[in-house]
Amino acid sequence: MSTDLTRREFLATVAAAQGALVVGFWMPDRAQAQTPVAKPFGAVWYEEPATPEVNAWIVVAPDDIVTIRIAQTELGQGVWTSNAMMIAEELQCDWAKVRPQYASANRDAREKAPEWTLKVPGDGATDPQGGGEPTFGDRDRTGVSGIPDSLYRRMRTNAASSVKDGRYYLQLAGAEARERLLLAAAGLWKVPVTELTARDSVITHGPSGRTTTYGRVAARAAQTPHPHPETIRIKSPDQWTLMGTERKSLDVPLKVTGQTVYGIDVRLPGMKWAAVKACPVYGGDVKRYDFAAIRTMPGVRTAVQFPIPDPSCTRGRIFSGGVAVIADTWYQAKTAIDRMPIEWTIPPDNAAVNTAMMRDALAAAIAQPGRVRVDRGDVDAGFARAATIVEATYSTPYLARARMEPGNATVLVTNDRVDIWIGDQSPQETRFSASKITGIPEENVYIHLCHLGGGFGRNGNGPQAEHAIMIANQMRGTPVHMLWTREEDFIGTTYRAMGLARLKAGLDGEGWPIALEVRTCMQRDGFGPEASFDVTSRYHVPNYRYSTHTTRFHIPVGTRRGVGQAAHEFYRESFMNELAHAAGLESQHVVEIQ
């Protein structure tokens, strides 16, 4: 079945089988023959679907099964369910017949968003009538917001935004499809559409009591555009029947039977495995390696070197160059690369840095005048008046994301097309990377999204896609599944920056803080130090000064959920407890009065 692989796009999908959910995904013939648990596959390619779609988000099959395309990635946050709920709310379909499926990032490169999804009323994410509209930047692939006019627009999964930013156009997509299904039934019955109602995938003509189902009119609806889509309005919250209710996650049945397809589970015919070693010092590269030393080890095919990923693919972060050993199985590749002599070109300045030096640099930077973010009252006068001065220094270490699923991607590059199977939080950026590395246009890059075994930001997950694309690009025609070891995953990740805080409070005779000075220092990162500092103070202290200080290190850092917030919560709350202790109070008596 694999000969026409390059003609098709295989997507993880979920299909109905006697009420049970089974994942539809391509599995190799050999494994399939050996696998007692059948893994049926559904080959779905948007250009040749068996059932025509109503719109780009919704396919209704003759048996009323509703496939809802999800443009964000499921990594445990429940987006397969929540995005489907927002669409199904408006579609008014039978929730039990909803099946999520990943949207096509390739199609997103080829098609523009429908005009009717672009004009967002209301006042942003907090307006229930409006709904979120992400602030799209220009067509900047290194930006975080998505692409303003591409079909699925924001395919990133980040910043807790999938619901609040996607809600308006996802609800609208459901509403547009519902209206077209109603119009199709009205056309069939030759009755005014205003006499029809829809509920749980059943359309009823009130005056006659006649009914039909979505499945029976979907083909007609698919052929008939809505004459005035700009007139369609989404429901107000008081009209919701599905949104706001608690529903079981649609993919949990797969996760308790081992059937979820993560990137690491992808198998292709003729696929080879790659184990990699990247230079353990960031900014370093391979000087030479001795493939001859391992050439005869079992299963070993070849070795492939790759450079430091182009910073335009990694939002400016500098990772390392490396080398991959390609073998028939991953364990053979990993065993061989462990024995392969590799010499590195290591930037001496980067190699010289150690934790003590970093601590010293942070301490030096925090002692310098920083950027004053808040300066309220007269802090120095407050300290002069204080009965007690309390001071504290806190530090936080570099933290890796340490997701459970080590970085991996499966890539097939041919001369005119790239296919990537990956759990990825930003397929639009990965599409850009694939094009940049291979020279093949983005319109010919196909990304087959898989579930992620934990995800902490696309760049938090590191240059897994770039490594795999650079390797596969040197082995055109062969699908290569690159998998990092746990150790490589730590080299490939971006870290939450190391941080330092100095806090000083002046307490009056009763123990009340009357002056507070907070100085925090973190590594300046790729997207601006402002993003990394929490400038809010939860506690009201009349005289308050807050300054931020930065330094530079070569470690690639990123947000790791909450940007600098988690470190700053630790600094602030720890210090408030120390102040309570100094005042003779139990810490639970400290109350936030922001």
Binding site: A20, M27, P28, R30, A31, Q32, Q34, T35, P36, V37, A38, E74, L75, G76, Q77, G78, K248, S249, D251, V252, P253, L254, K255, V256, T257, G258, Q259, T260, V261, Y262, I264, D265, R267, P298, T329, W330, Y331, A402, R403, M404, E405, P406, H451, L452, G453, G454, G455, L483, T485, R486
Partner: protein, 152 residues
């Protein structure tokens, strides 16, 4: 070198180095991918399977040690999710990303076979798998529910 392994009641002829960790034989030769690779050093438990009823971390055990024994993976618990432990897991929407959950379920199932009414202390001692999403509280509830369901 070819050897036979019994996985989920079925015998597989495997042609591989018998010193290969059992995890990779299960995933890449037998073709069952529900068992997961994460740390590779027997620490996190994502690769947990049963060998003769005992929960082991398959990334750190040579396949040769399982020859002639009965191996159970998540796929063998029940394919349709009808085993009480899976029913209990679904009841609380226990998994988030789900990557650790195969191993989590296998560790819990071994515990329940040994101690049909486990205490929280039993769970703490025997289910030491890592979950990066932090589902531990639901795992605990699901184990207690599974214990109830399995007694019925």
């Amino acid at each position: 070198m070819a050897f036979d392994l019994t996985v989920n009641g079925r015998v597989y002829r495997v042609d591989a180095d018998p010193q290969t960790p059992l995890l990779w034989i299960i995933r890449d030769h037998v073709g069952l991918t529900g068992t997961k690779f994460s740390c590779g050093i027997g620490q996190c438990g994502a690769c947990t399977v049963h060998v003769d009823g005992r929960a082991i971390r398959s990334c750190s055990v040579a396949a040769s040690t399982a020859v002639g024994k009965s191996i159970l993976t998540i796929e063998g618990v029940s394919a349709d999710g009808s085993h009480p432990i899976q029913v209990a897991w679904k009841e609380f929407d226990t998994p988030q990303c789900g990557y650790c959950q195969s191993g989590m379920i296998m560790a819990a199932l071994a515990l329940l076979h040994d101690r049909p009414r486990p205490t929280d202390a039993d769970i703490d001692a025997r289910v030491t798998n890592a979950c990066r999403c932090g589902t531990y509280h639901r795992v605990r509830k699901a184990i207690h529910l599974a214990a109830d369901l399995m007694r019925k």
